[in-house]
Symmetry: C2
Subunit: 524 residues, 2 copies
Amino acid sequence: MKLTPPALLWRVANRKQIFYLLDCKEKGLPMYETLKQRIKCPELHEKIRSSSEAASYITPGMTIGVSGFTLSGYPKEVAKALAERSHRGEKLELTVYSGASLGDDFDGLLTRAGALKCRMPYQTNTDLRNAINEGKVKYVDLPLSLMSKWVRSGYLNHIDVALVEASSIDENGNIIPTASVGASEAYVACADKVIVEINTYVPENIKGIHDIYMTELAPNTKPIPLTKVADRIGTPYIPCDPSKIVAIVQSEIPDCGIPETAGDEDYNKMSENLISFLEKDVEAGRLCNPLPPIQAGIGAVSNAVLSGLQKSKFEHLTVYSEVMQDSLVDLIECGKVDAASATAITMSKEKMKAFFEKLDSLKGKIVLRPMEISNSPEVIRRLNVIAINTIIEADLYGNTNSSYVGGSRLMNGVGGSGDFCQNGGLSIFITKSTAKNGTISSIVPLVSHIDHTSKTVQVIVTEQGVADLRGLNVIERAHAIIDNCAHPKFRPALEKYLRKASVLSDYPAYPYSVEAAQMFHGSV
Amino acid sequence: MKLTPPALLWRVANRKQIFYLLDCKEKGLPMYETLKQRIKCPELHEKIRSSSEAASYITPGMTIGVSGFTLSGYPKEVAKALAERSHRGEKLELTVYSGASLGDDFDGLLTRAGALKCRMPYQTNTDLRNAINEGKVKYVDLPLSLMSKWVRSGYLNHIDVALVEASSIDENGNIIPTASVGASEAYVACADKVIVEINTYVPENIKGIHDIYMTELAPNTKPIPLTKVADRIGTPYIPCDPSKIVAIVQSEIPDCGIPETAGDEDYNKMSENLISFLEKDVEAGRLCNPLPPIQAGIGAVSNAVLSGLQKSKFEHLTVYSEVMQDSLVDLIECGKVDAASATAITMSKEKMKAFFEKLDSLKGKIVLRPMEISNSPEVIRRLNVIAINTIIEADLYGNTNSSYVGGSRLMNGVGGSGDFCQNGGLSIFITKSTAKNGTISSIVPLVSHIDHTSKTVQVIVTEQGVADLRGLNVIERAHAIIDNCAHPKFRPALEKYLRKASVLSDYPAYPYSVEAAQMFHGSV
């Protein structure tokens, strides 16, 4: 690192900066000038710290609110410093509130270091999941739309420190996030202290992609003035009182990214079934054309659906979702999608690099919002969003399970799917009809855990077909699901359950039997 | 009935009116002049029909959209005429969409007559419930906030005839409802034909209590401009093209009303527990004071809660609910409640009569809205509504059952409780800790049917105490519920379940066992 004489002097005058510089040197950390350029508020230059110094503001038992959503835009350097302290024997017992899932270099690292006491409101990390299932880390899975409000209302812990990744800080100390917003605006607003990790890997011209709107709390809440996906209703930064910023850390570590997922014949079939269902609903006048905005998660299923749309007749698509992945960027680039709104952009490291390179051309069609807005029941219902979510299993009553395998083993959590399926114009759940190489049916008599009740499940799609449950009663739903969604090899056993349950139940309108359901699992 | 000569002439000119008059005479029906006074649009006077003539527009297999919500404001005369036809052997096979539950002189009458094929989206009638449970009438229980939108979007049947009770018709043919709105505005808008029952028992000065606001459908939906309980954002009438009105029928039958419910010591204790919990939440700064608007259902529990509030320190209360009952009117009269919004007013016949007498003095504080607005997720979340709903049972995980006894026997349905508990600022469920004279625990290991998942259940109140589940994980929730809500005599068995489930489950963080749950029911 080359130091200009004034900068050198300035740092000499600031003892902490010397340690920072030594730390940089030791770790081969670079680019002080780049970092300074990213901090447009000169008085904040003196808050530049090493990651370990910054981490020193986080003391045992604290609750920290961190940026990050679906492995995107989470802080990395301070996490390393915290993990080191924990490995050195310090009992940190941290409560970490995030947007949603964080990368392994945060959630995995801190779990393995034994630094976590409690984690909310969502995660997807293998080591953290295991620690949660073993009862070593407390986990509370909350509808994502509520997190910001609950923190601000004092329903949860007070936020001692907000730790957020940023691409830059503006002239007034406001924070420009990186590839996700999550609940950072709430954590920054509520925290006693703010630590910012400026990630110079993320291009500075990401500024302008964000739209930060904070709702008031009751009794002053106003309508959210958002009526179109592309509407900008807030500021391009997270408002921040610069006096709350206690440390700014440099990072240049890319988000861990998600592995690229390969589709298969089943996924393509699921996508085809879904799209042909949407086409029919448009034909029947039940859906408008252009379609209402689409919400889809990340992963292979979602990729298949979005890729399918690329080949479909639908034009002028829009997306109002939690998270955007690379297939969506492809749809924007090929002109199929006019506008997309989410709270995070998540893709593989390579795709993310390419995305950053073409940021200027894409930015006009993408808005990143706080998850309170991306997942807002108000906006989702207003826009009539088509909610497409994946599940572990569905039952014959139309209940779905998206979080606990066998009723007890946590996979990830419910995340924002409830926000979308309860309020969307159409709530679609999609799954392969079988799991574990075809040995297990994803359509079961009774799901072992209910995340979404039949009231919020309107359509189920598998590679076998589509069950449109709107306006059907219990018996009709059961038959629609067996006939259209179950794998043929499991249909006889499911029908047998239904017959047995009808016999065992006193009320023919609602055949229901735990015993018969258990026999189903034994019989197939 | 005394006829003035011009009226006589006019009627002679209108053959149908003669039949009407004959019919009136035959049945002793009165007050043609009163009826005419209620129809301010003179061209509609010639649409006055006998109930059986009006009913003739309803033919077998039709779908009719009727007014009425919680036994209030439903049509009565045409129902009688339809039941007569059915008793005479006509196979009507009607699909009836309503606001919510209708009186026995509609739902019960048509069920006993065998005239119903399908009923949506809610009911509470004994005979209808039995017919549904026996599989004789199809029933689909839908979140009430969705009904209007689903009908208008074509997700459900086309409305052949809208059949609505009114207090009057204005100069332009618009309809002024009686004591409920429900989804009438949507049914009138979508129907091919409209039949109006003008109920002269309801005073005409009820005009002005209603506020009819219809949302647009996507992609034109706008924010609902409602930020305070008392806001009026629509018209005092249901817009109606008079050319759609095919018949106007006179009725003077009061709503069947609900029986007055007596509280008991347990109910008072539940109310005290709830109010002391709210007081603590205000003290802790989690709730504002004056409290956010309250939603409470009808019945003894709700009455006890509202009566408790009368004695509490809370002032300037507001109510944003589906339904208002007499205890709420008492609260308004004693000055505790500043404003109340609902889609229906329901009380005993006597109380309703008294209410009508003091309408002018109460009207300024009450707004009756379409159920799409009273139950709007957007408005409920914005106002931070305190949602208080009753349940059949709750389990240790925080799931609740409000619709199916034993998982199979329908009680009523979920109604609007999901709209409120998913979106309210605080979602409270309230139940006695035991049922069947203390022989059964309302707190169980696993509920037999899930209407509200743990994600939407934040507080459980019984006469034993309050379990505040916010921010708790699975194990903490279970202990909070056992320790605070379960009856002491069932606590050992519930703890035993938890211990057994912990042993039987591979994942200590989520003790779960269907077998152990079944043993619980055997052991107590």
